[in-house]
Each structure stands twice: as C-alpha cells, then as structure tokens.
C-alpha cells in the first residue's frame, strides 16, 4: 500500500489515503458519518484533518459536491465577467467515519509525512479508487432515429455527404471480441484473432465472436454498416482488425498480444475501450512506439469519475476520450485527472458521445450503453473518416485537427472536458 501511495504522490502530487485514528470509536448509538465540520467530530480528528488538502483530484470533494447539489459535477462558467454559478458548498478535504474511526481524503507529500508520524494515528493506508454508483436504469428504447444522436452531434453526416465513409482505413479494435454475424458488422471485419493469457494467438483463429457484448457495441460504433437505413457507425466504410484481449479478469500479455498483432496488420488507428486503473508507466514506451509507427492510439479514459483515470488512456501519447451526454454535459462517471507533467497534463484530451449510445448487440439486436468505452469508438471512427479524406496526413496531424475542432460549451469545466467536443466538419477543414 505504501508503494501505491508513493506512486500517486510521484505522479499526481496528491494521494488518496485512509487514516485509522487511535482515538476510541464511540460505543454510543451509531453516529451518522459526515465531514469534520459535523458536530460529532472530536478535536483529535479536527486536528488531523488539517493535514489533508482539497484537490480537484479528490473524489470525496467531487462526489460530496455533486451529491449536495443534486446534479452532475460541474464547475462555474469560465467566461470572463460571467457570474460564478456555484450554489454547491465548498468541498471538504476529508470525510470522517466516526463509527469506524477512519478519515478518508487527499493528502500531499507533507500531509502524508505528518500523518505517518503522528502518534495519534494507528495507520495510514492507500485508498482504493471510489466509483460513482449510478442507479440501475432499465428502460426500453427503440432504434427509431435514422442516425444516432452522437453521430449527429459530431456533424459526421456532413462528411458522409462528401463521400467519406472510412473506406480504405483499417482500425485496430481490441476488446471482448465482435459478433461478425451482426447485420451492422457483416463486411466490416477484415481480420479477427483471439489471444490467450500469455499473449499467444489462439490457433486456428475462430470466426469473429464476442465473449461479452462490450466489443460488439464498440466495434459497430466505429464501423457499423447501416441496417434498414439506420446508422450506428461513424465510419461505415472502414474495416476492423478486431481481437479478443479482455473478458473480465485480465492478463497484461493478452493486451500486448493484441497490440502486437494489430501493429503487424498495419492498422492506422488503434481503438481500445479498456485500461488498468491508475497510472502504469510501463505501457508508455509501447504507446510511443505506436506513434512512431504513425498509428493513432485512441483510448478510453475510464468510468470512475473525477480524479481518476486508467492506463494507457492517461498517457500523454494517447488520445484519451471521456464521455458526454446529448446536452453536451460531461457524464458523472467520466474519468478526468490532472498529472504533474509538462506534456499533456490533463486527461481526457476531449469528450465524445458516451451516454445513451445505441449500437449493436450480439444476436442481431441493438442496445444502449453509457461509458467512456462508448465515446472512444466515436473518435476512432472520426479519425478513420479524416484519414480517408487526407491519406497523406500523419496520425499526429489528424489528432491535431480533431483537437483544433473541439469546442467547450458554456458551464462545462475544462478540468472535466479538457478541449471539449470535436466537430467533424471543422476537423476536416483544419487538415
């Protein structure tokens, strides 16, 4: 645990920690938990909380603020002269659980050292990442629109009218697999492979199938063909080199096997709606290698909310994607994080449609999903359209055009949305 705290402090300057206080836990009737401002927090706890810091990366702060205001986490308008639109309370740096005798919050290096040496503290441990717990929402919907809201929001149909569809572009798709028989994906899969836990390709290669539903959904968002004149795919002419590299508990070598295979297939774009929680430096050289081979790495940033991110999506070398809804608001669950580094310190790089995304479901059906996993293939598909339009442009140049086209809508925090949402028409103009 100490190694994890040290790693967080080294990369972000702050770390989430749990302090176990030596002060006796109350044996009275269970007290409600609350911030240190709560009346039942004793002087020892109030004294220890001085070592915590309020941080944009504090999940406690973001969640507490959102919960109190009853709305998604959102910063005040950044427009000059605009009144601060903030009716939520100032976030507390720590939360004290009096029935457990623990304090949870964010510390910097000095705070961590002080707490570790304080005689009133029994232990300081790392804190597992908190996740927003969304209510389970089950509702039926029908694929009634001709084009999904996300494709419309990015103004992709304007590129279709120019004759662009992603034809000639091979996109690497590493996920749970893909249902090759789905009407939206027939003809979309150029090659398919399955990798074992040691990164070896299963032989003989099976026909395209999905071990889950995740891969079929993301694949069809990239390159889904129209079904009954209804479009779920951004680049319906692109082809996929798709491989099974995940299905629950995972091995790193499995993902590397898929990446290695995709590189060998000369993909132009690598779309990965996957990642390991936290910041893992070890994949960085591999992502740099993708760039050196002129492959655009489009990776999901994660679904664990503000102050979190996943690797490799949180690397400077990745084009990291967060999620927004149909109003342009950053989804509560969309990860975002600021790192201590000069190059591309804030992730995600941009946000894309990631709420109520309709795409293919194995068995010929369709379903709606929310996630940065759903946002990522929107950008991979957009990149495919642009690469078809300008085949001589490099991956870096295509990325720069996508970034240049991004717009931040009012009242959306740059800390959560970074550059904002891309515009396909503007991106093409910039290339």
């Amino acid at each position: 645990m100490t190694a994890l705290i040290t790693q967080e402090l080294d990369t972000k300057g702050v770390a989430q920690v749990i302090v176990i206080v030596k002060e006796p836990v109350s044996t009275d009737a269970a007290a409600p938990s609350g911030t240190v401002a709560a009346a039942n927090a004793g002087p020892i706890v109030r004294s220890l909380v001085q070592h915590y810091v309020s941080s944009e990366m504090s999940q406690i702060s973001a969640l507490a603020t959102a919960a109190a205001a009853g709305r998604p986490v959102r910063a005040a308008a950044r427009a000059e002269g605009a009144p601060r639109r903030d009716t939520a309370p100032v976030p507390q740096p720590a939360r004290y659980y009096p029935n457990l005798g623990v304090i949870l919050g964010t510390v910097n290096r000095e705070g961590y050292a002080a707490l570790s040496q304080d005689p009133r503290v029994a232990a300081v441990t790392g804190s597992p990442p908190l996740s927003l717990i969304r209510p389970t929402r089950i509702r039926t919907a029908r694929l009634t629109r001709k084009i999904t809201w996300g494709i419309q929001a990015m103004r992709v149909p304007a590129l279709w009218r120019e004759g662009l569809s992603g034809t000639g572009i091979l996109v690497g798709h590493l996920d749970t697999g893909v249902d090759g028989q789905h009407p939206a994906l027939v003809g979309a899969i150029d090659s398919f492979a399955e990798f074992d836990d040691f990164g070896r390709e299963v032989s003989p290669a099976p026909a395209p199938f999905d071990t889950d539903e995740h891969g079929t959904h993301t694949a069809a968002t990239i390159a889904g063909r129209p079904v009954s004149n209804r479009h779920v795919g951004v680049a319906p002419g692109a082809k996929l080199a798709s491989a099974i590299v995940i299905e629950g508990g995972d091995a790193v070598a499995r993902v590397l096997g898929g990446m290695d295979w995709a590189v060998g297939h000369n993909v132009r774009i690598l779309s990965m709606s996957l990642g390991f929680r936290g910041f893992w430096e070890d994949f960085i050289p591999l992502t740099q290698l993708l760039r050196a081979r002129n492959i655009l790495p489009v990776f999901a940033v994660g679904n664990e909310g503000p102050g979190t991110s996943r690797s490799p999506g949180n690397y400077p070398e990745a084009l990291s994607v967060g999620a927004h809804d149909s109003q342009g608001e950053v989804a509560d669950f969309s990860s975002s994080q600021r790192f201590i580094r000069t190059n591309d310190a804030l992730v995600p790089d941009l946000i894309a449609p990631g709420v109520d995304v309709i795409s293919a479901k194995p068995g010929g059906k369709f379903q709606m999903m929310d996630g940065s996993s759903m946002a990522t293939p929107h950008i991979a598909g957009l990149a495919a359209l642009l690469m078809q339009a300008r085949p001589g442009k490099t991956a870096d140049e295509v990325e720069a055009a996508i970034f240049g086209s991004c717009k931040l809508i009012p009242n959306v925090s740059p800390d959560r949305a970074h550059r904002g949402t891309p515009d396909a028409v503007q991106a093409l103009t910039l290339l």
Binding site: P285, L289, Q367
Partner: protein
Amino acid sequence: MNRGKIKAKTDPELQRQLEQTASGSHEVQAVFVLQPPGSSQKFLTSDQTLTMVENLLHRLQQETGESPRDYNVFKNLGSFVVAASPTFINKLLEQDEIASAMANRQPGSALIPPRNKRPV
C-alpha cells in the same frame, strides 16, 4: 550486461508477487519492456527484439542453470512475457537490456464496463 543488483523499474504488483512466491516453488509471470541499445535508437526493430530476447534468456539459463517454463515475444512492441521462478525473474530484472517490468497477472480488470445497458 549486468547492472549489478540494480533492478529495472518494477511495478508494485510484480514486487508483491515476487516477495510472496520467493520461498515457494510457484512461478511468476512478468512482462518486460526492452531497452533500446543506443541513445540514438528509440525503438527496437522486430528482428532486434527477437534476437535480444533469445540472447538474454540463453545467457541467463547459462548463469542460473534454470530455464523459464514459457515465454512469448511481442516483436512489434519491443517486449516479452516470461513465466519462470522468482529467482529467474529477479535475475532478469538485473539485466541492462530490461527497461521495466510488470506482473502479467494484475488485480482488477482492464475491461471498462458500461455504466448502463438496456435494449432498444
């Protein structure tokens, strides 16, 4: 060839697994990223990767008298995975050819599950 007991950058999970299995006979699986040979070369070619891994494992087999149970090379990524005893893995970590290493088996999942899923 041997950086003299100074280990390559290792992720905490690999360290934990090596400590846990040190006294037992269980193997550890680790993914290694290779260090390009010179300062002017940023990435290894496929051939260089294959050759470097073969030479490295052969050398360590000679030195330790042990062999890895299995290994797999990602020739386009300048990396490889090994299943071997903790002794062998620790020996690999000491080699100049290794830039970094991480456990192949990580806690948690790389799948980013969707937050809501419903039929249409």
